[in-house]
C-alpha cells in the first residue's frame, strides 16, 4: 500500500518492543526497523559503520542499539556511533500512523543505492 512517498511496511505490533525487524531492499542494503522501549520506531541501514555487523541483531536500549559483533553503540536517531567510536550509519525517515509503520520511499532508495 502506498501513501505518497510513504510505504506501509507492516503493523507496529510486528516489531518486538526493544527489538528489530529487517527489510531487504532489492539491489541495495537491508533496512533495519527498531522499536524502542517507549514505542518509537527508527529505521537505519542494517550495517554497523565499524565492521558492518547487522545492527538489527543488537540489544536496543534507550534510543541506541549495541552492535552484536563488537558492541559499538549506535544512536538510532542520528545513526552516529556513540562514545569514543567514530562512524555513521544512514538513517531513513519512518513514522507510525494508525498502528502501521511507514517508511520513506525516496530515502530508502537513496540509502540503499
Amino acid at each position: 500500500m502506498h501513501y505518497g512517498d510513504w510505504i506501509d511496511v507492516g503493523p507496529l505490533s510486528a516489531i518486538p518492543v526493544r527489538g528489530s525487524r529487517t527489510i531487504p531492499v532489492a539491489g541495495g542494503d537491508e533496512v533495519a526497523l527498531f522499536r524502542t522501549g517507549d514505542n518509537q520506531v527508527f529505521a537505519l541501514v542494517n550495517r554497523c559503520p565499524h565492521k558492518h555487523g547487522p545492527l538489527s541483531q543488537g540489544i536496543v536500549h534507550g534510543h541506541a542499539v549495541s552492535c552484536p559483533l563488537h558492541n559499538w553503540r549506535i544512536s538510532l536517531v542520528t545513526g552516529e556511533a556513540l562514545g569514543e567510536d567514530k562512524g555513521c550509519t544512514p538513517t531513513i525517515p519512518v513514522k507510525v500512523d494508525g498502528g502501521r509503520v511507514l517508511l520513506c520511499r525516496t530515502s530508502t532508495l537513496k540509502a540503499a543505492a
Binding site: 510505504i7 511496511v9 507492516g10 505490533s13 510486528a14 516489531i15 518486538p16 518492543v17 526493544r18 527489538g19 525487524r21 529487517t22 527489510i23 531487504p24 531492499v25 532489492a26 539491489g27 533496512v31 526497523l33 524502542t36 522501549g37 517507549d38 514505542n39 518509537q40 565492521k51 558492518h52 555487523g53 547487522p54 541483531q57 543488537g58 540489544i59 536496543v60 536500549h61 534507550g62 534510543h63 549495541s66 552484536p68 559483533l69 558492541n71 553503540r73 544512536s75 536517531v77 542520528t78 500512523d97 494508525g98 509503520v101 517508511l103 530508502t108 532508495l109 540503499a112
Partner: protein
C-alpha cells in the same frame, strides 16, 4: 447590534426580519468542542450569528471526560452537565438533540437530520468528535459488547454491574483503565486485556507503566499485557473473550476501549478534504470556506488530537476567525495529567528523549514515585511523572516556554519548590542544613547523624557506609545524599572512590548487591529491579539487561519469563553470529559420541543449505557455518528429526562435556569416562550460567580429554574420581584446582551439580569459574561443596529443580514456530521500475 427584549425561538426567527439578517451558523455536534466553540463566539460577539446545534445524543452538553466519575459513582449526570437548557434559551441557541445530521449538501448549503429536517446554513461547523474503534473480531456485535464513549454506555455498564459477575475491558489505555476502575468499584471482577507490553504506552514509559500495573493488580484487577483478542464468544449474549493464545476469559460484559478514530464519515460524504481527520487550516476552515471543523474530528498540520487542551486552543482560533479577527491555531504541545483509578500520572512532550536527549530520573521505591525529565540542549523536552504530579505543570510550563534550565539542572528533578527555594543554590548546603535526626535512608531508617558517625568511624566510601549502617543499601534513592554527606564530612579527602565495581553506569550498585536484593525483596522482573534499585536510565543498557535477565532466571526458576530482548544475539538466535552476519550451528553430541543417522542428517543439512564449511570443534562436535537467520528454523527441524538438540555452543551456558574413550576401549582406561560424560551432559545441558561452562571427563591421569583446563573436570583413577574445578583455556590459561576425590559415579554427578549451582548463584554475570574461584578462594568452594554435606545436597537439588524447567530444546520450539519473527524479514522492498515506453 441590539436585540435586547427580543424573545425569539429560532423557528419564528426565520420570519423575523431583523434576526433573519444575521447569518446562520449550524453546528453538527453538541459535545465539548461544538459547545466550547459557541461559548468562545458568544464571548466575542454574542449577536453575530443565529446558531443551531445538532446533537446525536438526547442530552444537553455535558463533560465527556467526566463519564468515568459517573461510572465510579463519584458524580451524577447532572453534575457533569456543562450547559443546561437555560444556557441554550438565554443565548437563543436552537438545540436539536437526539436527531443526528445525516447529510450535508454543500451546493444548496443545507444539512439534513435523520428525522428529515433540513436546515440552511451560511456557516457550518463540524464538531463530530471521534468514534470508538471497534476491533473487527468475531462476536463484536453480541449484546453486552460496548464501547465507553457516551452516557448510554455508562448506563449499560451500570446495569451490568448491578448484576455483578465478570467483566473484560479490552484496551489498557486511559479510557479502558477508567472503565475497569469504575466496574471494579461497582463490584465486578475485572480483567483488562492489553495488546501492548505495558499499560498506557502512549502516555507512560515502561517503568511508569509497570508501577501502574502493579498497583492495579494489588487492587484486585487482573491485567493481561501482550494479550491479543481472537474472538468474543457467546450465543445470544456475550459469555467471554478468547485470546489468540487460547485462553478464555469469562465475562458478561465486554468494554472495548482500544482507541478512537476521528468521526469523518459525514465530511467525507460531503466531499470535504479528509486525511486522518477533516483537514483544516490555521483558522479551522476546511476545504470549503463556508465549512469549519473543530475538535477531535479534525486534522491540523498533519496532527489529530484526542485531548481536551488542544480543543480549547482550536475553539479560540475558530471564534477569532468567525468574528473577523483571525488569530490562527498553531498546533498544540500536549501534556496529560490524569488520575488513573486514583493514581496520579503526568506526561508531556517528547518523553522518549531522542537525539541528544538526556534523562534525569528519580525513583523513590518506598513511596511508589517515579519521575523522569528529558533534557536536550539545556531545555526540557519531555517529562513523565508517576505517583507525584505536583510539578507537572511547572515542567510543562518550562517545556512550552523553552526555558534554559542549566542553572537549576541539579535540582530540577526535585521539583519547583526545591529548585527555586532560596538559599539552596548548593545542594550540599541543603544537606548540611539538615538536622542530625533527619532521616536519610527511608528503607533502613538511618538518620543523618548515624551516617555522619559511620563516616567518622572510618567508613570512607559509599560501599563502606552501605556495609556499616545500611544507608542507601536497599533502593539506592538516597545515594546522592550519602555521597554529599561523605563530601561534607571528609572534605577534600573524598573523591568518590568505590570499593565495589557497579554493574554498569545505569546503577550505583554492584552485581552482588543486585543479586542479594533480587532475592531479599522478591523482585521478579527487569523493570521492577530498575525501579526498586533506582536505575538512572529508563531501560538499562546492553551490559545490565543481560545480567539482570540471568539473575532473575537463576533466582526464580520456572517462574521468571525470559526477556528475549535482554539476550545477546547468539542466545536470542540460538546460534553463533559470524562476521558476515550468518550463523553457525552446532548440534549437541552427547559426550562427543555420534552415529550414522546424525552424521547423515548433518551432511544433508550442509548440502541442502549450501553451508560453505563444516568443522570439528574443540569440544568434540561439528560446527556448520554460513546459515542464514531465515534458514535456521528449517535447519533445526532437520537436525531435530535425526534426534539432535541444540548444543548451546552460543550461550552463557553448559557447552560441552568432552570425554576420552575410557575403560571400554582404552588399555589405560580406569573407568567408563565416556559413559560418565554422557550422563553428566544429560544432567547439565540447557542450564544458563554466568558465563560459558565446559566440562570434561578423562579416563585416566593421562588426561586425553584435557579435564584440567575445564570449568569442571573429572579425572578417573582406579580408586574413583578426582574432581577438578576452575580451569580454562582462553587468553589466560588456568589449570584447575583439585577439589576432592569421590568414589562413585553418582557422587561425581552430585558434586558436579552442586558446584555448578554454587557458581550459578554466586558468580557475577560474565565471570568465568577461574576468576570467580580466585576471587572467593578455593577454601570457600571446598567449605561449601566438600565439607558442608547438607549444603551440598541442597545445592544439588536446587540445580536439578532448575534443570526441570530448562531442558526444553530451544531449537525444537523455534522449529515449531516459536518466536517466528526472529527469523523472518518484516517485508521486502522492491523499487517499482518505470514502465518501458511502448
Amino acid at each position: 447590534m441590539d436585540f435586547q427584549g427580543q424573545v425569539l425561538t429560532n423557528d419564528d426567527a426565520e420570519e423575523a426580519g431583523g434576526a433573519a439578517a444575521r447569518p446562520r451558523l449550524v453546528v453538527i455536534g453538541n459535545g465539548m468542542a461544538g459547545c466550547r466553540a459557541i461559548e468562545e463566539l458568544l464571548e466575542r460577539d454574542a449577536g453575530r450569528y443565529r446558531v443551531t446545534i445538532f446533537g446525536a445524543e438526547p442530552h444537553v452538553n455535558y463533560n465527556r471526560i467526566m463519564l468515568s466519575p459517573v461510572l465510579a459513582g463519584e458524580k451524577t449526570f447532572e453534575q457533569i452537565v456543562i450547559n443546561d437548557h437555560a444556557w441554550y434559551a438565554d443565548n437563543e441557541i436552537e438545540l436539536v438533540a437526539g436527531d443526528p445530521v445525516v447529510a450535508i449538501d454543500r451546493a444548496a448549503k443545507t444539512v439534513t437530520a435523520r428525522s428529515g429536517r433540513t436546515v440552511a446554513y451560511d456557516k457550518l461547523l463540524i464538531a463530530t468528535g471521534s468514534d470508538p474503534f471497534i476491533i473487527p473480531v468475531p462476536g463484536k456485535d453480541l449484546p453486552g459488547v460496548i464501547s465507553f464513549r457516551d452516557m448510554k454506555d455508562v448506563d449499560t455498564m451500570l446495569a451490568a454491574a448491578a448484576k455483578g459477575g465478570e467483566a473484560v475491558v479490552i484496551g489498557g489505555g486511559l479510557l479502558g483503565l477508567e472503565a475497569a476502575h469504575g466496574l471494579s468499584l461497582r463490584g465486578m471482577k475485572v480483567t483488562v486485556i492489553h495488546l501492548m507490553p505495558t499499560l498506557m504506552e502512549r502516555q507512560l514509559d515502561e517503568a511508569a507503566g509497570w508501577l501502574l500495573k502493579t498497583e492495579l493488580e494489588s487492587r484486585g484487577q487482573t491485567i493481561l499485557t501482550g494479550a491479543d483478542t481472537a474472538e468474543i464468544v457467546g450465543e445470544s449474549q456475550v459469555e467471554g473473550v478468547r485470546l489468540k493464545d487460547g485462553r478464555l476469559i469469562p465475562a458478561s460484559l465486554v468494554v472495548m476501549a482500544v482507541g478512537i478514530r476521528p468521526s469523518v464519515a459525514l465530511a467525507r460524504e460531503a466531499g470535504l478534504a479528509v486525511g486522518r481527520g477533516i483537514q483544516v487550516d490555521d483558522h479551522m476552515v476546511t476545504s470549503d470556506t463556508d465549512v469549519l471543523a473543530v475538535g477531535e474530528c479534525v486534522e491540523h498540520d498533519g496532527q489529530v488530537y484526542g485531548l481536551v487542551a488542544p480543543l480549547w486552543e482550536m475553539c479560540r482560533a475558530l471564534a477569532d476567525g468567525l468574528v473577523g479577527k483571525p488569530s490562527g491555531y498553531r498546533g498544540s504541545v500536549t501534556s496529560t495529567k490524569l488520575k488513573v483509578s486514583g493514581i496520579d500520572v503526568f506526561s508531556a512532550g517528547d518523553f522518549a528523549g531522542g537525539d541528544g536527549g538526556e534523562d534525569i530520573v528519580l525513583r523513590d521505591a518506598s513511596r511508589g514515585i517515579y519521575k523522569r525529565v528529558v533534557v536536550k540542549d539545556d531545555k526540557i523536552v519531555g517529562a513523565v511523572l508517576y505517583g507525584d504530579t505536583v510539578d507537572g505543570n511547572w515542567y510543562f510550563d518550562l517545556l512550552k516556554k523553552g526555558e534554559d534550565i542549566s542553572s537549576i539542572r541539579d535540582f530540577l528533578i526535585f521539583g519547583q519548590a526545591f529548585a527555586q527555594g532560596g538559599g539552596q543554590a548548593d545542594p550540599k548546603a541543603a544537606v548540611a542544613a539538615l538536622s542530625d535526626d533527619a532521616e536519610i535512608c527511608g528503607c533502613n531508617g538511618v538518620s543523618k547523624g548515624k551516617v555522619v558517625a559511620t563516616i567518622q568511624g572510618g567508613a570512607c566510601t559509599l560501599d563502606a557506609v552501605r556495609a556499616t549502617c545500611k544507608a542507601s543499601a536497599s533502593c539506592g534513592s538516597c545515594t546522592g545524599l550519602v555521597e554529599q554527606l561523605l563530601e561534607l564530612t571528609l572534605g577534600d579527602d573524598y573523591a568518590g572512590e568505590r570499593d565495589v565495581k557497579t554493574v554498569c553506569k545505569c546503577t550505583t550498585f554492584g552485581h552482588d548487591d543486585v543479586r542479594r536484593e533480587i532475592v531479599a525483596q522478591g523482585m521478579k522482573s527487569i523493570p521492577e529491579v530498575m525501579q526498586r534499585m533506582s536505575w538512572s536510565t529508563p531501560d538499562g543498557c546492553s551490559s545490565c539487561r543481560p545480567a539482570l535477565n540471568y539473575y532473575l532466571l537463576c533466582a526464580w526458576p520456572g517462574e521468571y519469563v525470559d526477556d528475549q530482548q535482554s539476550r545477546f544475539v547468539n542466545e536470542r538466535m540460538h546460534a553463533n553470529i559470524q562476521k558476515d552476519g550468518t550463523y553457525s550451528v552446532v548440534p549437541r553430541m552427547w559426550g562427543g559420541l555420534t552415529n550414522p543417522r546424525e552424521l547423515r542428517a548433518i551432511a544433508d543439512v550442509v548440502e541442502k543449505y549450501n553451508a560453505p564449511m563444516v568443522k570439528v570443534t574443540g569440544g568434540q562436535r561439528l560446527d556448520i557455518f554460513g546459515i542464514k537467520k531465515e534458514d535456521l528454523p528449517a535447519v533445526w527441524a532437520d537436525l531435530n528429526a535425526a534426534g539432535m538438540v541444540s548444543g548451546h555452543a552460543y550461550g552463557k551456558s553448559l557447552r560441552t562435556v568432552k570425554t576420552c574413550v575410557g575403560s571400554e576401549w582404552c588399555r589405560f582406561g580406569t573407568q567408563d569416562s565416556t559413559g560418565l560424560g554422557v550422563q553428566i551432559e544429560h544432567m547439565t545441558w540447557g542450564s544458563w550460567m554466568p558465563h560459558k561452562f565446559k566440562i570434561a571427563v578423562s579416563g585416566c591421569p593421562r588426561n586425553c580429554a584435557e579435564a584440567t583446563i575445564k570449568d569442571f573436570g573429572v579425572v578417573c583413577v582406579d580408586s574413583g574420581y578426582e574432581l577438578h574445578v576452575g580451569g580454562n583455556g582462553g587468553i589466560k590459561v588456568r589449570a584447575t584446582d583439585f577439589l576432592c576425590k569421590v568414589s562413585t559415579e553418582q557422587q561425581a554427578l552430585d558434586y558436579c551439580a552442586a558446584f555448578i549451582q554454587l557458581y550459578r548463584e554466586e558468580a557475577r554475570y560474565l565471570e568465568r569459574t577461574a576468576p570467580w574461584i580466585e576471587r572467593v578462594g578455593l577454601d570457600y568452594i571446598k567449605a561449601r561443596i566438600v565439607d558442608d554435606e547438607v549444603g551440598r545436597e541442597a545445592l544439588t537439588s536446587r540445580f536439578l529443580y532448575s534443570q526441570s524447567f530448562s531442558q526444553d530444546d530451544p531449537w525444537a520450539q523455534r522449529a515449531a514456530g516459536a518466536e517466528r519473527e526472529q527469523h523472518a524479514h518484516l517485508g521486502e522492498f522492491r523499487p517499482i521500475l518505470p514502465l518501458a515506453a511502448e
